[in-house]
């Protein structure tokens, strides 16, 4: 059955990765369309006139914007395969709380980590370390954030893993050494086909950001 799903996305977006993972988890076929963020397509501007951002999920011609909202939509349409939200209301609330926490606390600092220098970057580093500490504590000894099953919060955060190498190099952050539990969690998630397919290669992200910083900020991170 052709569901006619189009995803407008950007390969390195940790938000777009969430929606890709959700669609793969459900085994739903969709058309992926890469957006040039410096030259946004008329379709993107038409489908997301308010924010003009990716990812945009278009289902039977109707747009759904905001990645966590898209993931919940996908889960509600295909509830029987690989449920993403738990069925218990309290557990659902906890999942939504932590997805909201990740969104509220990472958006600004994560952008500054790769696009800024000096004080602004330092401030962003402090903020992001706090987020990692909090998430590390929340994960504890569980396999996934929700317990034994892969779910919403894992989907909300796993995309950031593909950016860890970039943050370490470009912002001089120590992540892998300091947060072994989070790294194990990420490796566990990567064993799932949906995640392995959705996440780009970390080195590719780093190269893209380094090139950007060279051009825009005049910083050559890898001077010989």
């Amino acid at each position: 059955m052709a569901e006619e799903i189009i995803l407008l996305d950007y390969w390195a977006s940790m938000f777009g990765m969430r929606t890709r993972i959700a669609l793969e988890e459900k085994g739903v076929k969709y058309e992926y369309r890469e957006e040039d963020l410096s030259n946004k397509s008329p379709l993107l501007l038409e489908m997301n006139p308010i924010h003009k951002k990716i990812p945009v999920l278009i289902h039977k011609g109707k747009p759904i914007c905001e990645s966590i909202i898209q993931v919940q939509y996908i889960d509600e349409l295909w509830p029987d395969s690989n449920p993403i939200l738990p069925s218990d209301p309290y557990q659902r609330a906890q999942a939504r709380f932590w997805a909201d926490y990740i969104d509220k606390k990472t958006y600004v600092p994560c952008k500054a980590l790769w696009s800024e220098t000096g004080e602004k970057q330092e401030a962003a580093k402090m903020e992001f370390i706090e987020v990692l500490k909090t998430l590390d504590s929340e994960l504890g000894d569980k396999s996934f954030f929700g317990g034994n099953k892969f779910g919403l919060v894992d989907i909300a955060f796993i995309g950031f893993y593909s950016w860890f190498r970039t943050y370490e190099e470009v912002a001089n952050l120590t992540i892998v050494a300091k947060f072994p539990k989070l790294i194990s969690w990420a490796q566990r998630c990567l064993k799932r086909e949906s995640v392995a397919k959705a996440l780009p290669d970390s080195d590719k992200v780093l190269k893209s950001v380094s090139d950007h910083r060279k051009i825009v900020l005049g910083i050559d991170e890898f001077h010989v």
Partner: protein, 224 residues
């Protein structure tokens, strides 16, 4: 009802976030014990225990467990108590739209209005224009519906409680005008219907008290 089942709400008398939860509980006919928190003064040990991540209100305590973040709490209430008043639509696409607009109110509109009313004079014109544009989007979304939720008060109406009641008060206290009845006839009509609803008006904080507190907190930005 035993102690465990009892619903408690830790809130702040003047906060639109806190009131969203009270509105949802009232609409659903769920009895609760209200606990006023001195958030700006002395945060109680209870608050720090039940919301260690954000240390903010509102916090709902049900069956001895806590849920934080107002819109997460409202969804929890909807998931837990199946009564005749439904807050979210059944259709997944309509639900996604409701979540999108509620997030829009939270992320964009409230911040824009706060900046416009209380931000620095130098930014006033720019911020008022931004807030005006945000409200125009909501005016368009409301259209000819009675409420954002359709025939009855729904998720977006509750999320937009700030616009229904607090916006007018912010305008009065700050001396800054963003929304007028002439420019926003639909939102004006909606806010009158919203605050006129029996369940909603029961929980609204007294206007004079709010004006006095706002003036004391921020001062009047235009000449008295």
């Amino acid at each position: 009802m035993n102690q465990e089942e009892q619903v408690k709400l830790m809130g702040l008398w003047g906060s639109p976030f806190s009131k969203r939860v009270e509105m949802a509980l009232k609409l659903k006919g769920i009895p609760y014990e209200y606990i006023e928190e001195d958030v700006y003064g002395n945060k109680s040990p209870m608050l720090l225990k039940y919301n260690p991540v954000h240390k903010k209100v509102p916090v709902l305590i049900h069956n001895g467990r806590s849920i934080a973040e107002s819109l997460v709490i409202v969804e929890y209430i909807e998931d837990t108590w199946k009564t005749s008043h439904t807050i979210l639509p059944q259709d997944p696409y309509e639900r996604a739209m409701a979540r999108f607009w509620a997030k829009y109110v939270d992320d964009k509109v409230m911040l824009a209005v706060r900046k416009a009313c209380w931000g620095p004079e130098s930014e006033r014109e720019k911020e008022v224009k931004e807030a005006y544009e945000c409200l125009k989007c909501l005016e368009k979304e409301l259209g000819d519906k009675l409420f954002f939720g359709g025939e009855t008060i729904g998720f977006v109406d509750i999320a937009a409680d700030f616009i229904g009641y607090w916006l007018g008060i912010f305008q009065e206290a700050s001396g800054v005008t963003i929304m007028t009845a002439e420019e926003f006839p639909k939102l004006q009509r909606w806010s009158e219907d919203f605050v006129g609803n029996d369940f909603i008006k029961e929980v609204l904080p007294p206007k004079e008290k709010l004006v006095a507190v706002l003036k004391a907190m921020f001062g009047s930005v235009t000449s008295n």
